[in-house]
């Protein structure tokens, strides 16, 4: 118990809050945790609430799925607790959902001397091989990750016609190489999902077919490093409820095997702190800053090596 306490109060685990216009992204690769580290797995399980434990045990007997769910809850709990200056234990957080299923955190401690719980927005996404948690201060955020080699059981263009906007489907149909077409579809999908998740109002208020992402037509190549990030214009053919909000999108490859998109709200008045930027070659335009870590919760954090930004939007009104 003392060791665990020491683990999460250790100073390297306490993070300054994301500044205005900043997104913190915490990546957990299950391959970083070995099966033999039974003490660590046990510690993770003990972070969970009774209802979370029951839920994981009941919903599926598939061990991989159970592991994924356990790690998802571990990641979100430990991530949020990082920003509480050691005052709050990961296990003491409670979570609720809004009417559309968007999760929210309830801090167990409302005040301690001068400390107040931070106004954090967060969003979680996961596949079996990578879990990501994005955190901002006050700005709504959405994140979605997909495996690059994801297998599709349905015909891709049929899926595209059904789920993407007509313009996006047309654009996708131009790609003749099935591999490239699949990659582009996945990228588009993560962008759309990140947006819907950031809005937090469910699919019905932001149907996927009713907004369009377009990549700059003069840059058809998929892989680019950040210095040549492509603009992603987003047009909405129908006004979504938060029509006076501005949103920014980042499409990236957190690893060679994954695509992810982050969507964040741009708040009106921003003052910028001097922050260090983890993405190599990040340029300061568009007032979006992202810090990405590779973490083994309660054990270590390191800068995420090899992440590549593919596309970045200009701050646009939705």
């Amino acid at each position: 118990m003392r060791r665990r306490l020491a683990m999460w109060t250790a100073s390297h685990l306490m993070r300054p809050l994301p500044g205005p216009g900043e997104v913190h992204v915490w990546c957990l690769f299950p391959e970083d945790i070995t099966g033999e580290d039974t003490a660590l797995w046990k510690t993770y399980k003990e972070l969970l609430s009774p209802s979370e434990k029951t839920h994981i045990a009941q919903c599926s007997s598939n061990p991989k799925l159970q592991t994924e769910k356990l790690l998802a809850r571990t990641l979100v709990r430990t991530t949020l607790a990082r920003y509480a200056s050691g005052i709050v234990a990961p296990s003491s957080l409670r979570f609720t959902k809004n009417e559309f299923g968007k999760p929210n955190v309830i801090w167990p401690v409302k005040r301690l001397d001068k400390w107040r719980p931070p106004s954090l927005c967060f969003n979680l996404t996961h596949t079996q091989s990578l879990l990501m948690c994005a955190v901002t201060q006050k700005a709504e955020v959405g994140i979605d990750v997909e495996e690059r080699e994801r297998k599709f059981t349905r015909d891709l263009m049929a899926l595209a016609r059904r789920q993407l906007s007509p313009e996006e489907a047309d654009w996708l149909s131009q790609f003749t190489d099935p591999n490239e077409q699949r990659c582009q579809f996945i990228q588009l999908w993560t962008l759309k999902e990140a947006y819907v998740k950031a809005l937090g109002k469910g699919i019905s208020k932001a149907p996927l077919k009713e907004f369009t992402f377009t990549f700059n037509a003069s840059s058809p190549t998929v892989l680019r490093n950040l210095k040549q990030a492509v603009t992603i214009p987003i047009s909405l053919s129908r006004a979504v409820e938060n029509s006076d909000d501005a949103w920014q999108f980042l499409l990236l490859q957190p690893s060679a095997c994954h695509y992810a998109s982050i969507c964040t709200q741009i708040l009106p008045s921003s003052t910028f702190e001097q922050g260090s930027l983890q993405l190599e070659g990040w340029s300061d335009h568009n007032n979006l800053r992202v810090q990405i870590w590779r973490t083994v919760p309660l054990v270590r954090d390191e800068a995420l090596e090899g992440a590549v930004a593919l596309a970045l939007s200009d701050p646009l009104s939705s």
Partner: protein, 126 residues
């Protein structure tokens, strides 16, 4: 033609099918109310439909079909949003039906999916 679910108690559903009301024009007004069919079904969808739906879901998610229970939510079974769409498309193909997008979005559990499929299949046959 539509179906109206009167009670959504999970173990017992009464569905009253109200068929077309046809009225002849002019003077010869005759109402053909058609049949008001009363159908009692435990758990909504019949067992066979449920089995086929479960099998499709299990195949799509590459999981054991025994893990697919009536009350299982798609997300609980490991489905992400793309999986859910592919499942819907697979079910449409299997049952040779079209699923309305609005209805499809209401689906949370396997039972919901099976019930919706059953409704659409039955509506198609009639």
């Amino acid at each position: 033609m539509g179906s109206i679910v009167i009670s959504t108690c999970s173990w017992f559903k009464v569905k009253v099918y109200v068929y077309h009301v046809l009225c002849a024009k002019f003077f010869n007004v005759s109402f053909v109310l058609g049949d008001i069919g009363l159908r009692l079904s435990y758990c909504g969808a019949d067992a066979e439909t449920f089995q086929v739906v479960s099998a499709v879901i299990a195949e799509q998610l590459a999981i054991d079909v025994n893990d697919v229970r009536a009350e299982s939510k798609f997300t609980d079974l490991g489905a992400d949003s793309l999986d859910t769409v592919e499942i819907m498309m697979a079910l449409e193909e299997k049952f040779d039906i079209q699923l309305d997008e609005d209805n499809a979005e209401q689906i949370v559990t396997v039972q919901h999916a099976a019930d919706l499929i059953q409704d659409v299949v039955t509506a198609k046959k009639a």
